[in-house]
Symmetry: C2
Subunit: 390 residues, 2 copies
Amino acid sequence: MTTTFGSLSRVPTYDALPGHRLVLGADAPLKLDCGIDLAPCTVAYQTYGQLNDARTNAVLVCHALTGDQYVAEDHPVTGKKGWWEMMVGPAKPIDTDRFFVICANVLGGCMGSSGPREIDPKTGKPYGLSFPVITVGDMVEAQLRVVRHLGIERLFAVIGGSMGAMQVLQWASRHPEKVFAAIPIAGAARHSAQNIAFHEVGRQAIMADPEWRGGDYLNQETNPTRGLAVARMAAHITYLSESALHRKFGRNLQDRQALSYGFEADFQVESYLRHQGITFVDRFDANSYLYITRAMDYFDLAAEHGGALANAFRGTTCRFCLISFTSDWLFPTSESRSIVHALNAVAADVSFVEIKSDKGHDAFLLDEPEFHAVLSGFIAGSAELAGLRR
Amino acid sequence: MTTTFGSLSRVPTYDALPGHRLVLGADAPLKLDCGIDLAPCTVAYQTYGQLNDARTNAVLVCHALTGDQYVAEDHPVTGKKGWWEMMVGPAKPIDTDRFFVICANVLGGCMGSSGPREIDPKTGKPYGLSFPVITVGDMVEAQLRVVRHLGIERLFAVIGGSMGAMQVLQWASRHPEKVFAAIPIAGAARHSAQNIAFHEVGRQAIMADPEWRGGDYLNQETNPTRGLAVARMAAHITYLSESALHRKFGRNLQDRQALSYGFEADFQVESYLRHQGITFVDRFDANSYLYITRAMDYFDLAAEHGGALANAFRGTTCRFCLISFTSDWLFPTSESRSIVHALNAVAADVSFVEIKSDKGHDAFLLDEPEFHAVLSGFIAGSAELAGLRR
């Protein structure tokens, strides 16, 4: 499970990536929101812990834009720790001694699930831009297939941050009977104009790279790494807060005593940002970045329900716990608050906590003791209510 | 003055751009902060109104990153109105029936002043990256030469927004005896880590464009328009507020009734942003963008004065008026406030107004009645104090 494959561009096929695969054949295509029936279709997923006999202790973790299914184990490409090891594992808030944790690579992703990087069986070549445009709803339908495949009737909890929170909301809206507890963290019920704008900058950066080749770079054996790195850099700024950047870097110089009067990375913040761009392209696919940002842009739960967000949750029996962070300006507290208002309007069972943090949107991935405590408390209380043994 | 030249890349030489030129020869080189003596060196500038006999009614307008000297007249490349016609002109807050207005293209710019786009007399070819890295202080020294050339001992006022405000602060700090009133709008005494980060994204986007050719694109007859457009798009988001984007565009679709499930500009905000990128490259030079953003990054007035901003203004006789905008997150009110604190510490004459606006950083360029009223009031009061006749 811990084999290091090196750069993604050198991973020859999906089969080389470790973990489980669910393959949906022509008899069970995935019905996409765009109207296309996708088959065959692969969903790559990982599990941690043991499913109990009653199959009632499953927690589905939904990952964010650039996340993947390797939640709590070393990453097969980078060799780094799993992206949520702080949260998922023995004696962690999502305790794998108690819960059976599932995480699937999202549809459109590049870590084994069907996406633009995968071979189109009709042509024998990578899909590229011929892969259909997918939605957060499509991601959820792919996850539902995995959940069914594992024989799980109802998930104890669905949890995720950022785009993961969008999936949680979509689960609770479309399949409330399959979700006991829904935990959307640092999320929103629709992508804002500013967030669409930032995504569009990233997409334009990728598409401006001549190596992108109209999306056909895998067939043409090029790779738009420069465009993808710029996209990552722009996005990365939005994941942090101004105060976190100031605290971490300020105007400190990088490996020098004085300004260079040149265009090298004089400031630590420049060097840090360049590093973020360079390392990202080793583990991510440029077309996947286009598809997944598009899915987020398209997400608008109220629009799916006649313009009234409350309608998305009418009659729900889920228990909700919403969490936001004070310094998150990408998915600010106001977004969570409007979801809480909609849930209150339909008399849903909802907790809402705004965590004081200066770490920005990324706080959900970081060591924030109050956040972890809130989550542990909600999960413990929910498990008791669900009748799960300790 | 209103000849349209079309795209900047098609303007063969600086001489083709209308307006005044001050050429500094080898006998009067510009001593740059990096240690280089720049000569010959050209400063392109425009003036509006009449200088009075006592030469006491001059107002120096300092432009922002992508601004230029065409403040109050049609732009010679785009044919559009001057960038501050709302503010400068007959019966405007900066009344050209009363004041003599000067605006110089900043050093490093691309509208006639010396910069990377100009011919290096030593080689007969465009400078490109062999042009020295300049600072806000260097921009001010170039402006000082123009002011001297015009026989002006003391400016009635120096005014500017954003990077213009940095120049105003530099003027007041280096040459307090030459400035009666200093009006820095939506500015800061140092560029923040987040702002450096956004600039670095823009620079990386330009340098990632293969047509940039290590900065030598003018000699190689290419043009990194795609990279420059991406840089502009990323920057443009920071000029607006989330609420302005929401109010103007929200999630409205562009020329369609439903999502396209593709990568065209489905949303108005995408279409708007693409337009901003495309039109910008017609009037701006990519290397100039690198140089000017670098100058802003380097700006740190406290660092120039032993780490204490108050020292930058000790003993000043200038009258200050600082203005910020509530929704400006690029140069937030807190930045202006810390300048006010420093000025208070040295008992300077300072007014400070935070204008309520949802238009973000760009508010200083837009029709904001309260802003215009505050400015008119301060200028009228200052003119009376300065003994300028009506």
